[in-house]
Symmetry: C4
């Protein structure tokens, strides 16, 4: 689908991600009390919000880098991108459900299922872009062995059953994965800088 | 209306479509239970959400291709575009009504009415662009016989009364039409590639 | 404020207008019944929604044309623009209040107050742009005598007290003003086309 | 992170700010009465909305100017920006809580906490940009002694405990700080104009 430019794909994705990240805050319902203690029941929702905010930030950041290496998008890339946005659009729901139930086992596991599906969707999108760029794919070089991209789904997969043992194990895994991504990814950066 | 650039029309449409696709997820109300069974009543809403997400994705995709062939927009094109966005903006409402009532006949029929009106609005927008491009219209060549664009409204039209016989017939039609659009449209692509 | 480019002003305004136009649809609450009659109580809300959708469309259209004539924006223009967006952001509120109360006198009058304030804010923004462009202002030539811009606030002003006589008079005025704006404004267009 | 362009950072920030500014209006719940008196209980929410609207407008304005001086963004700048957006995303919550409780002490103090944290986040973002631009940083020259940026957090810090003496002191401080920012900031402007 040669003529499709990536600009509008980026603009649309930015719009959806901006809305997702902001809509999550609507789960922070204004409390009825006027004391500081009225905020206490909101703490789990608030900490879930922080976690999901960081995750959407990571996705936005990586998405930006990934699309930077590509120029034209095919129909396959477009739908792989919508597939990713679909799973990310469920973040406000799973964030709210996990937070409002104080990290109960099932909501915590379902939160991990959506994280896992988003990671898989991201991987598919990455493969679709590399497939289009051909064997000399700039993105393929940039991501290299892609250990973060391969480790994350494995960890999410482990976090899902762990929630039924102890939800805090899952929660620890979610935070750990977020942290390994927060460390700036110098791979794509370096490859691209070399090119310039 | 010579001076109007299409960029802002695209940006505004992207914004509206991004909000529509994301706002629909708000109908997925966070359940009160903490068991997996608490998600069961949400399944019809969730499957309606998937269907509408795919439809908005298709509209965004086709809209993108259609505007790619044009450069300047007239006042008529602008209002034809707003008319299309109006019908698409009703998707969250009809999706929620159909999903929350487990595909009852009337909500399923009304869902089809909005699909039909959006298809008609899309057709009007397409004619407005072709009218402006003149007899050698690039878009006219690109869409060719436009069998998908002509078949879809007919099928929606059939799906509306069918909902009162059996809503699943209508639902099957809605899924079928989505699938014929999901197959990437190589017509516009080919015509434009030839040009380059 | 020489360096400020208008692109980001447009992008921000487009975002706000896209959200306003889409958020209004949230007032169309999904009904509990599954019969067609369940939609009947929504008809006033729905017709208010159409009216406001058209108004936001008109503002977006005119805003686009107005900014087309300018290149750099001053701090004054920026705040005049935010002032306009402020009044437009109240549309979802007044639309919902008027619609849910079946066009009762006070909500209908308040709807007119917000229309009036938005028209005044638009006029201020227009003057700020002309002031910056200087005596040879392209926009000043383009709008000419600006009879629509001057007539609209007068009509809104008349519609506000009329609501207490009969809300339908006000409603008729609101529709009438929308119609005179829907007729494409060939003035700016013509002036700009001459320039090219 | 050389290759990252600032355009998408701006677009994403614009999207988030546009949504925040518009979502706040959803706290203005449509009243049930149809008399003008039905609006009276909404007055505190409405005046909180105006205050927060102005603050988001100021942040958008300053953010625009700040990014104007930079070209490429590093990973650190990106996360400093997301950190700022995080605190701004809490505005709808604190605005609603303060407004619905008629400026009770605790909600008024918490409103100040979020203002303070946003100011700190803005300062961090500013330092991150200057650090990247190096000793000759254009932004460093542009902001000069940055007395507004240094005074604001001090005033917010004073406003937080004051809320427990009398919330109106805090409210007065919030309005005062907004006013000193509303006065157009000619520093960056002048520095940049000199460059041209």
């Amino acid at each position: 689908m040669g003529p499709m430019e990536k600009n509008r794909l980026e603009a649309f994705s930015d719009g959806v991600l901006a809305i997702i990240i902001t809509i999550m805050v609507l789960e922070l319902k204004v409390p009825h009390g006027i004391e500081l203690s009225a905020l206490r029941p909101l703490l789990p929702v608030f900490s879930s919000y922080i976690l999901s905010f960081v995750y959407i930030g990571i996705y936005w950041n990586n998405h930006h880098h990934m699309l930077y290496t590509t120029r034209h998008v095919s129909g396959g890339i477009l739908w792989a991108n919508l597939h990713l946005l679909f799973w990310l659009s469920l973040f406000p729901f799973t964030t709210g459900w996990m937070g409002e139930n104080h990290f109960a086992p099932t909501p915590t596991a379902i939160y991990g299922v959506v994280l896992l599906m988003a990671a898989v969707a991201y991987y598919i999108l990455q493969r679709a872009i590399i497939a289009r760029q051909g064997p000399q794919a700039l993105l393929a070089k940039a991501i290299g062995r892609d250990w973060k991209g391969k480790l994350s789904p494995v960890l999410y997969f482990a976090a899902i059953p762990s929630a039924f043992l102890n939800p805090w194990i899952s929660h620890g895994i979610y935070i750990f994965v977020a942290l390994i991504w927060l460390i700036p990814d110098r791979r794509i950066e370096r490859t691209l800088t070399d090119r310039h």
